[in-house]
Symmetry: C2
Subunit: 335 residues, 2 copies
DNA sequence: AACTACTACTAGAGCGCTCTAGTCACGAGC
DNA sequence: GCTCGTGACTAGAGCGCTCTAGTAGTAGTT
């Protein structure tokens, strides 16, 4: 349980200088194959691992990207995973800092700065545009999943308007005409998804029909109760996200309506819950891999090219077909 | 966008030595109040923040605790949050390393070791006891939420046996006699929960009745189908966790059975989903705050007292009453 | 006046690396 | 035989801090 071995220890055991050990461990040119294996053997013997902090101290570039994420958002978890792979491929390391009710976002950001991250990647941040701009003055700041306009801040997000359009077009192709949208109130993305729905309906010559909703299962369930009570003449519903859709489905399934026979339902996010066999929700999937890759790419150009301009990348979503959508009953009779 | 200011810059601006700046920023004795404010003012002017890595390099103690967690487990998210507060209170910093399908556990651990964390906190690790023991040779290793016996490894977990007992006793007190347990197959905690159920039933002079299950919503839903098909003569069900219980409820509610009138259901974990109004699941809650505090406390004694013995702390869970449990119909008639 | 005691400060080494500027040996080229 | 180039290696400074040892300067004691 004594302190971990240092480069000095390895050098002594292998009978070489510290610099040579450094060369070997960095895979840099300047050492013969024979010594290379000898040094590595010595290192292995001692269980040596280079001290990451010391290594970084000397270099100007830390190759460290700081990421803040919400510990409670499953979608952030998915993103973090793909960010790891994307960062690794580009030769960067990731430092994670969690945001939680008891740990504010600026707190999370500060701790990342203390570790001298070269760039900040913020997942769905709540910080004000001005706060974001202030941060962007000292290092690149990339926001994922929120449509913000802040000077010097790069944004990578899903085309939510297009996502809603996908959902509506899918329902139209099945023969639906009366399509309701249950929105996500004031939450990030809600406005775009609502707009996309409205535009797609208008484009098809139909009138949009919007019911207020929310983002949780409970909101979806409440919306279902209102829906059952009002029983509007619609054959399909698109919802703000999968969580709301799940709550909606749960309540609808307890009524006399059968899904998808009497009502088609489309969610948004393609969260793990949507894929579960007993839910099997048709939904709009965000392309997390593309989001992550674009983010790392932006970070990289920002860090290498000092006069790169602010980027705003929009990733197209895709539709995932499952079993909550089908042609409307009337269409089935007529067709 | 130039490199961040160093202690040297602050010292020059304030007209003092680097050492004095260090003293001021560490809040160490040895500086007059006048210089203290002067130095801090200079630091503020330059936007100075001490470089965390450099600071740690010189010290033997890094006061850094490494945490591995599963990015997809909501319960881990809750734990990480409370760990942050507990660590901060004890003067420690947390380094997070995510475990995901594409990023194995040993990988996550290695990256923490590269940052010279003083101790490793592993949330529900899948590593073998021998791998854990090997890790524990170079620094303290504390496992949360998994009952493992590995030399030198500390364990902090919830009393799952007691948790199951709580669930059963609650149902007994409502008047249930025929109680089924749907287990969690081979997943961590399943064995203890099953044993606890069995013991509580035997203690009440009743014969245990166990149906195989799993840990996901889909598993719960499947179990419900089997249940409806077999229609065993039971009035209450306890499940491995909330996710399975949710799937179970979802499917049961589509049948003619009404909950809790015809069947009482108890989950496990008190996850956020259990609290949602349309689910409102009676469940066994793990005390995350206690788990986190105990973990940090153990880390601290391990790091300060070289001959501390291996700790195994078991935290009692509590029962959260919601609306999926009620007296059995027969009891209602007889009582 | 000489001693200690204390406060306020500084010089400089050291943490574990990387990197520049060497040294040294050896063979090729003229 | 001399330079020159090259591959293999080393010395030592430096990254941004902390910490030990030490220096002034002031005040209190006898």
């Amino acid at each position: 349980m004594d302190r971990p071995p240092t480069m000095e220890d390895v050098a002594r055991l292998a009978g070489v200088s510290r610099a040579l050990v450094s060369i070997v461990y960095r895979d840099a040119p300047g050492a013969s194959d024979a010594t290379r294996t000898r040094v590595l053997a010595a290192g292995n013997d001692l269980g040596y691992r280079p001290d990451h902090r010391a290594r970084l101290l000397g270099r100007t570039r830390t190759r460290l990207l700081g990421v803040t994420f919400d510990v409670r958002a499953p979608f952030h978890g998915d993103l973090v995973e793909v960010l790891y792979s994307a960062a690794e491929a580009a030769g960067y390391d990731l430092a994670l800092s969690a945001v939680a009710p008891s740990r504010g976002e600026s707190r999370a950001v500060q701790s990342l700065l203390d570790y001298r991250c070269e760039a900040l990647i913020l997942l769905g941040p709540q910080l004000s545009p001005s706060a974001l701009s202030a941060l962007a003055e000292s290092q690149p700041v990339i926001v994922i999943g929120r449509k913000v306009r802040a000077a010097g801040v790069d944004v990578v997000r899903t085309d939510d308007k297009g996502g809603s359009r996908l959902a509506v077009e899918h329902l139209l192709s099945l023969g639906h005409r009366a399509i309701l949208h249950i929105d996500g109130a004031k939450f990030p993305g809600s406005a775009e998804r609502r707009t996309g729905y409205r535009a797609a309906m208008r484009h098809a010559g139909l009138s949009p029909f919007i019911q207020p909703g929310g983002r949780t299962e409970a909101d979806g369930s409440d919306a279902a109760k209102t829906f059952l009570n009002d029983s509007p003449p619609v054959t399909a519903v698109t919802l703000f996200n999968d969580r709301a859709a799940t709550g909606f489905l749960d309540t609808i399934r307890q009524s006399s309506l059968e899904i998808p026979r009497d009502l088609s339902v489309v969610g948004y996010d393609n969260s793990t819950i949507a894929a579960l066999s007993h839910i099997s929700l048709t939904t709009v999937a965000q392309n997390t891999t593309a989001l992550a890759n674009q983010t790392i790419a932006i970070a990289q150009t920002r860090l290498t090219d000092p006069n790169a301009t602010t980027a705003a990348v929009v990733i197209p979503p895709t539709l995932v077909l499952r079993s909550t959508t089908a042609p409307p009953r009337s269409a089935g009779c007529t067709g």
